[in-house]
Symmetry: C2
Subunit: 303 residues, 2 copies
């Protein structure tokens, strides 16, 4: 595996691949990799000749300095994990090169950030779209792969790529879950033992919403009330939002349908967890290999 930190070297490498008729698949990440990321890598591999994974903890998408500083980082272990996964290039640019002095450009997608994570994370999605646009320019991929766990992010990136005619195919990959339903997330590492035991409540609440919908309840407020009750029953969460929205427009709908998504963000201790389910596709993948990557992470540090 090649490791590249220079932006111009990354562009040069991609140019050479394209000049050789090879395609580039790209998985942008903030590191502290888990099997959810590796699922994205596997998907990129099926789509393209070459797979590039970026690791960049992007300061501009954190609206909270504390969250940025506490975001888990482990480049040594991540590098070993990617090497083992057969990734061709690990791209980890420096923040000082990504954001040059006097940087003044933002990419903004209107409307899609008005609900869900938008209101409580001001500036977050502008940070995301701007860094994703920049990373696309650095990596010049043919295909870019994103997880559906960040459903709103995926829809916003899709819209940006479509509106600006980016020559990149955007692929979404279903959320990988632990066997108890908890969506894989780098933030899970920050959960204490007690919190970890409670965390699957979020997915259980979403499943209750899906069951209610498939059981005949179409009124959004009623569907959401069932899910909310499950979370509140524990007394452990502070709900940031729990909404039933159109899966593409990301606007709340009064009447649920197969195109709807139920999305939730909730604080458990100091950790903000998000998750979502499509009402059309209730079944989730099971991350049976979750233990493997944790073992590999420990190995990397002992090696």
């Amino acid at each position: 595996m090649k490791t590249i930190t220079s932006i111009s070297k990354m562009q040069e490498f991609s140019r050479q691949l394209h000049a050789g008729g090879l395609t580039v698949g790209f998985v942008p990440t903030m590191g502290y990799l888990h099997d959810g990321h590796l699922e994205l890598v596997r998907r990129a591999r099926t789509e393209c000749d070459t797979v590039v994974v970026s690791i960049f903890v992007n300061p501009t998408q954190f609206n909270n300095r504390d969250d940025f500083e506490k975001y888990p980082r482990d480049l040594i272990a991540d590098s070993a994990v990617l090497e083992h996964a057969g990734v061709d290039v690990l791209f980890s640019p420096e923040a000082s090169e990504v954001y040059a002095t006097g940087a003044a450009t933002h990419v903004h997608v209107a409307a899609l950030g008005d609900h869900l994570c938008g209101p409580t994370r001001p500036g977050h999605f502008d940070g995301v779209t701007t860094i994703v646009a920049a990373l696309f320019n650095m990596v010049m991929p043919d295909v870019a792969v994103f997880g559906e766990k960040d459903w709103q992010q995926l829809q916003i990136v899709r819209r940006m790529a479509r509106d600006l005619h980016m020559p990149v195919k955007i692929v979404g990959v279903p959320t990988l879950r632990e066997s108890d339903g908890l969506a894989l997330s780098s933030r899970n590492a920050r959960l204490g033992e007690k919190e970890r035991a409670l965390a699957p409540t979020i997915h259980r609440a979403l499943s209750v919403a899906v069951d209610a919908y498939h059981g005949g309840e179409k009124q959004s407020s009623a569907v959401l009330a069932r899910a909310r009750a499950v979370i509140e029953e524990t007394g452990a969460f502070r709900i940031d939002y729990l909404e039933l929205v159109d899966g593409e427009a990301l606007k709340p709908v009064e009447t649920a349908n197969d195109g709807s998504v139920v999305a939730v963000a909730a604080f458990l201790g100091g950790v903000r967890l998000i998750d979502n389910v499509s009402l059309a596709r209730p079944r989730a993948l099971d991350a049976s290999s979750g233990a493997d990557i944790r073992m590999r992470r420990e190995d990397a540090h002992h090696a």
Copy 2:
């Protein structure tokens, strides 16, 4: 010369060129071509293997519907001119494909649009940066060439490309002028005979500013007063702005220096003309070939 209107076909063509190891030079235009545009084409030719010229009258950068509708158009003649100039591809996408239903994405460069054309053309530069970013994604150029006549636009595009790490080299080309000093512009076609005779006053005023500076006057207000007097003497113009700014930051400076630019926008009849000069480089190119292209434009319609 190949003419392409489909965005995906344009991308496919550029991909093929890159896969063959060829570079793409790009000149984005709004058509109604004059020798200033051909100067950009010549520059693109010296930089790249293949030259693509786009013609797209971009509705979102006109803050005035009337100006958009009155913007001169002549695709038949333009096509003949580009063919004669040895251009490889004329790319003229449809507005309905460029701006899909539900388009919600904007690229914004902060601060650089605060002065000069910014205040009186709200939304103009967001329209420019958004379409230029999109055209770059459609054409996938290695080099893009812009005229210095639109100095503010050039600086904003440069900043955008730098900030978003676009894999495109931005090249600026000095303004081409008629022998009487008038900067070549598609809008000149809308000037009546009397207005055409008065139009070079703008460049004369800028030259007076340059002479004042090189004659030892460093105070911006004094330099500008000299230029303003030249324009106001005619009683024919309504000045939109006349400013002396830093050539990169585009902010007014109190004391002029070699990095300063004097820029002006003024209405003559119903036509808004803009021009600028760098204090460091007072000499302008002379468009001695201006008559040729007008002849070719007439030929194209008679052919």
